[in-house]
């Protein structure tokens, strides 16, 4: 229950608060009045005033008031009913002398809340008395400008209506913002304008910051005269050239209303059919203005970004930790007032492995009286290509401080970026084309499976070639070669292979020796055949055994052969053949068959001996 009450109370408070907030209490008074002028000060509230506290007035006397008035209106639009209540208290005052008339704050209680107005200062000048104290109300540019009228007619002097182009500063440095205000001052009623030419700001970057649709005339004191003034245009200028820069003046033709008929002889019909006013055209000109623009002093720091004014720097990351191959960005914000729109981007240095992309700029500033105020944000998108903790070095940025007339360098703190391991390289959406192409190719691929089975471990650094084992194996091969060679050679000797191999040669020798004998055999000359055989055999053996032909005795031949280790069979065969030949030389028996048999025998014997000797 108590809880519910609390809620209700809160709700009521809230509703009440919002209800109170709707109320307003304002004061309306002219800014400048003539010394003899009677004027009004009106306090207006949009709610029932329960207690109105009068202001105290100094410098003016209260002729009447406060006189309350009440206005209530009800509107029904599309069945929606809005009620409006306006309660006003009007004072009629007259200045007591030139100077400033002050009206202290008045307060009123609306509902349960007390509202207080501001203190008002009213300038009192020595001007002509004007009718209708309140003249600051709105007037359409084309409509009647309820201005103070001059009694004289026809001639409009340059003092009656003029244009004024004023600058906030006339001595500036290049890039320093200036506010230029184009104002129309008039003392005569104006019916309209023609052929308006606004000033041309050559050598400046200019931006209109106020272009009122309606011209609001405000009373203003110019050299002791009350004028109605209106702001036509307000410009923000940023000098781009140095030297004396002239501004081409603004020009316009004013249609001024001039009373035509003398105030005396006016009939009622004249009043009815003729307004009694004539339009006179008056060309007015704001006059040339010159602005001295000095160039920025020399010695600008390297990080100078053409900024003139007063700035601060803020460097941060869009995210503290970024995944590898994903985009992050470094956000550099330059805040302050000055030529924000023309400043250049600060240079940032990213770690070597970051890919830097095109910088983005976003503006958040407004054109104000102090120049361009707000911030300019530079966003540097990057993609880190590998993981780790990186440090972005401090960003430096310099500007020219107009107030202290020197360059100021701002330096941010270093920013740490943590790059975490990225997802699969393939899935990174922000990859550059070439790499992703390459990576996609391996998407369906995987490494081959491990090898199983015997691992075949060996101690590190051990190789077969050059090892002891290797040389042992080589030595074994050589040894095996030698062994087989010996074995084969011995076996060949045993098999007589050696003799056979020599046979061919021996055979040749034998045939050569027995060549003549062969001829005799073919001619069937028995005696010369055997003689030749005998001679050949002896000649051969004497050559082979190096025995003198004279010492050729059977015994010496036999002994020498035995000494040379000729086999016994061969010796005997040789000796037999020698004997046979000797015998056959002198005997006549035996035929051709015997000769050829003996011949073959001789060949065989010589060949055999050749093998053994």
């Amino acid at each position: 229950m108590r809880y519910l009450r609390k809620v209700l109370l809160l709700l009521m408070l809230f509703v009440g608060g919002s209800a109170f907030a709707q109320n307003t209490f304002t004061v309306d008074a002219p800014r400048v009045v003539g010394a003899d002028e009677i004027f009004r000060v009106v306090y207006t509230a949009d709610g029932e005033i329960s207690d109105f506290v009068n202001p105290t007035v100094t410098g003016a006397e209260i002729l009447a008031g406060p006189s309350p008035s009440r206005m209530q209106s009800t509107q029904i639009i599309n069945g929606q009913r809005t009620e409006r209540l306006e309660i006003s208290y009007t004072f009629i005052l007259r200045p007591t002398g030139e100077g400033i008339a002050k009206i202290s704050p008045a307060s009123a209680t609306i509902g349960k809340k007390v509202y207080t107005t501001k203190e008002i200062s009213i300038e009192v000048v020595k001007g002509e008395a004007q009718q209708g104290g309140q003249q600051s109300s709105q007037a359409e540019a084309t409509g009647n400008a309820p201005a103070g009228q001059r009694s004289s007619q026809g001639e409009i002097s340059a003092k009656d209506v003029f244009l004024k182009l004023s600058f906030s500063k006339t001595k500036v440095v290049k890039g320093e913002p200036i506010i230029a205000t184009l104002k129309l001052y008039t003392r005569v009623p104006i019916a309209g304008f023609e052929d308006i030419r606004f000033p041309v700001f050559d050598g400046f970057w200019s931006q209109e910051i106020e272009t009122p649709q309606n011209i609001n005339f405000v009373r203003e004191n110019v050299d002791g005269q009350i004028y109605n003034s209106a702001v036509l245009r307000k410009y923000m200028l940023l000098p781009q050239q140095t030297g004396d820069v002239t501004v081409k003046p603004a020009e316009m033709i004013c249609q001024v209303q001039v009373r035509t008929t003398p105030s005396g002889g006016r009939s009622i019909f004249d009043d009815f059919f003729d307004s009694g006013y004539q339009i006179v055209k008056k060309r007015i000109n704001s006059g040339q203005a010159t602005i001295k623009v000095s160039s920025l002093p020399a010695g600008a720091p390297a990080s100078f970004g053409q900024g003139v004014g007063e700035f601060s720097l803020d460097v941060k990351l869009s995210r503290d930790s970024v995944k590898a191959h994903e985009a992050g960005s470094l956000v550099v914000t330059v805040k302050g007032s000055g030529n924000l729109n023309l400043i250049e981007a600060p240079k940032v240095e990213l770690p070597a492995d970051f890919e830097l992309y095109d910088m983005k700029t976003s503006n958040n500033y407004s054109y104000g009286v102090n120049g361009i105020q707000g911030s300019k944000t530079f966003e540097y998108p990057f993609i880190p290509r590998s993981e780790g903790v990186f440090e972005i070095p401090p960003v430096e940025y310099s500007y020219y401080d107009v107030k202290s007339n020197r360059y100021v360098t701002l330096k941010s703190l270093p920013v740490a970026v943590k790059v975490t391991k990225g997802d699969n390289v393939v899935s990174g959406g922000s990859l550059i084309q070439g790499v992703s192409k390459q990576a996609v190719a391996s998407l369906g691929e995987d490494i081959r499976y491990i090898l199983q089975g015997g691992a075949g471990f060996s101690a590190k650094g051990r190789f077969f070639v050059g090892s002891v084992l290797y040389f042992v194996v080589l030595a074994l091969i050589v040894a095996a070669y030698a062994a087989v060679y010996q074995f084969l050679r011995r076996r060949a000797k045993l098999r007589g292979d050696v003799v056979r191999t020599r046979n061919r040669k021996a055979n040749k020798v034998a045939r050569k020796r027995l060549k003549l004998a062969e001829q005799y055999m073919q001619q069937n000359l028995r005696s010369p055949f055997y003689e030749e055989m005998h001679k050949a055999l002896l000649g051969y053996i004497s050559d082979k055994l190096a025995i003198q032909f004279a010492d050729m005795q059977r015994d010496t031949i036999k002994e020498t052969m035995e000494a040379k280790k000729v086999s016994k069979g061969n010796i005997e065969e040789f000796m037999q053949l020698l004997e046979d030949c000797e015998m056959a030389r002198y005997s006549m028996d035996g035929g051709a068959g015997e000769m050829s048999a003996q011949y073959a025998k001789a060949i065989a014997v010589i060949s055999n001996l050749e093998g053994e000797l």
């Binding site: 070597a352 780790g388 691992a455 471990f457 060996s458 190789f463 070639v465 050059g466 091969i477 060679y485």
Partner: protein, 254 residues
């Protein structure tokens, strides 16, 4: 007498120890392979590395370590071990394939200076089998030379002898080449002049100190050739011919 017994005992113990370690290596090998097949790559990797710590190596071991590193996402290490495997057995087709796949994941794409075509061919032939393979081939060829020489000595006809002599010369030449290849591969495997970058990013500087100018950066998995070492720094060359100084900690020798 006592001494002798002691020696015998020590020798016995050593033999047992060697046997045991061989056994434990085999067990580790099997359990690691099982873990890998179940997808427990970290466990498998630990077991493989334990085998390596025991002081043995083999092509298969390095290859499997490379696979385990690849699966756990360490590309630099994977590449290192594939390279190690290929050093032991340059003919390893699996290691070559996996090395290529692992290289796709690295960032650096370094232009390779083209080599003289003949040396490329010779290298290709050399890399067809491992150092030990060439050694076996050379032994076999020397045996053939011996056989042919015997034939030359004892062949029955001149033609056969002439043929076997020419053949023996040719085969001897081949055997010499095989020995050269085997020795060359062994020298390559023992050399420590190549390394893989192990850190995500490494600055290559113009001088062996931290203040040197940055010449270029290398990423994990890139292969460099070590030209010389100076303290904690080494002078490296990459395959397109550029040189610079790098910290030794950033690389691991193959």
């Amino acid at each position: 007498m006592n001494h002798k017994i002691k020696y015998v005992f020590v020798a016995l113990c050593l033999m047992i120890a060697v046997n045991l370690s061989a056994n434990s290596n085999g067990l580790l090998w099997n359990s690691a392979n099982d873990a890998y097949s179940m997808g427990q790559y970290e466990t498998a990797l630990n077991d493989y590395l334990k085998i390596e710590e025991n002081g043995v190596h083999s092509y298969k071991l390095y290859y499997n370590i490379g696979n385990a590193y690849y699966k756990t996402g360490s590309m630099g290490k994977a590449i290192l071990y594939y390279e190690k495997a290929l050093k032991l057995n340059p003919a390893g087709e699996d290691a070559k394939t996996n090395l290529q796949i692992a290289r796709l994941q690295t960032l650096d794409k370094i232009e390779v200076v083209p080599e003289f075509i003949l040396s490329t061919w010779i290298k290709e032939i050399r890399n067809m089998i491992s150092s030990n393979g060439w050694a076996y081939v050379s032994v076999a060829l020397f045996a053939v030379v011996a056989l042919l020489m015997l034939l030359f000595k004892f062949a029955p006809t001149t033609g056969q002898r002439k043929f076997s002599f020419v053949m023996a010369c040719i085969v001897f030449l081949f055997a010499i080449f095989a020995v050269i290849f085997a020795a060359n591969l062994r020298a390559n495997a023992n050399s420590e002049d190549e390394a893989i970058v192990m850190v995500p990013v490494s600055n290559v500087k113009s001088a062996p100190n931290a203040t040197g100018n940055n010449l270029f950066i290398l990423h994990e998995g890139s292969k460099v050739e070590i030209l010389e070492e100076a303290g904690k720094w080494c002078r490296i060359e990459i395959s397109d011919g550029r040189q610079g100084w790098m910290q030794m900690n950033d690389v691991e020798v193959i």
